[in-house]
Amino acid sequence: MQLFILSKSNPLSLSDALSLMEMGDSLLLIDEATNLIKLRDTRKLLATLKGRLYLLEDSLKERGLGCFLESEPQLFSKDVTIDYQGFVQLALSHAKVINWN
């Protein structure tokens, strides 16, 4: 199980990370990478994700992106957002953490 962490708002990086992911892997968007949920094209990319998607709650709040979660409930489940404690638990529960830039 691998945890990919994206911190930059770069669709190419997202696409690269997704191409390396398998079932059981997870993708966590933090900081500027949470802006990726604003764009229709990157939301389509996220829909192809084989593993689970997580978004850091504070990064979403800072950028006022909460409304995008409600617009696509199929893509963003209720437990898609995590706090810092969840972030730590997520990192510990995966065999490998890759900070993908």
């Binding site: 690269d16 890759i98 830039n101």
Partner: protein, 142 residues
């Protein structure tokens, strides 16, 4: 391939800040201390294999030859055999995107040719690359 090694992925262009340089320096430091390390050039990172003329060509076509000579970034890469790193893995998809291949690169870039086969460039397709990353316990991306 050393699977117990740390995998360093250079995903950024030589011209995009100091990130890639940091990755290469970390790799050389690890190699100097005999820590097993593998290098994968991915995405924009393949720019480290391109000679100056080619890498600049993508930014300013037709004017590349008139630009002042700046450091050929491939020189950093060709020093790797001195540190016991004889093989570099290259993202095949990124090569395709820029219409490059290993043979073409080696012919085009005199710096890569200097080693006469000491430095092996291995191209990985999308599936092989996925497996390659999974095989490493530690992965650092620059």
């Amino acid at each position: 391939m050393k699977t117990e090694a740390t995998l360093i992925i250079i995903n950024s262009s030589p011209f995009a800040g100091s990130s890639a340089r940091t990755g290469i320096e970390l790799m050389l430091t690890m190699a100097a201390f005999e820590r097993p390390v593998n290098l994968l050039l991915k995405g924009e990172g393949i720019g480290h294999l391109l000679p100056l003329e080619i890498s600049t060509l993508s930014l300013v076509t037709n004017e590349a030859k008139n630009l002042p000579k700046i450091k050929n970034h491939a020189l950093n890469i060709v020093a790797l055999p001195l540190y016991g790193i004889a093989e570099i893995y290259v993202d095949g998809q990124a090569l395709n995107r820029t219409e490059q291949n290993i043979l073409h690169l080696t012919k085009q870039n005199p710096a890569l040719n200097q080693n006469h086969g000491e430095l092996i460039l291995t191209e990985l397709d999308t599936q092989a690359l996925k497996v390659f990353v999974q095989q490493h316990k530690e992965v650092l991306v620059f």
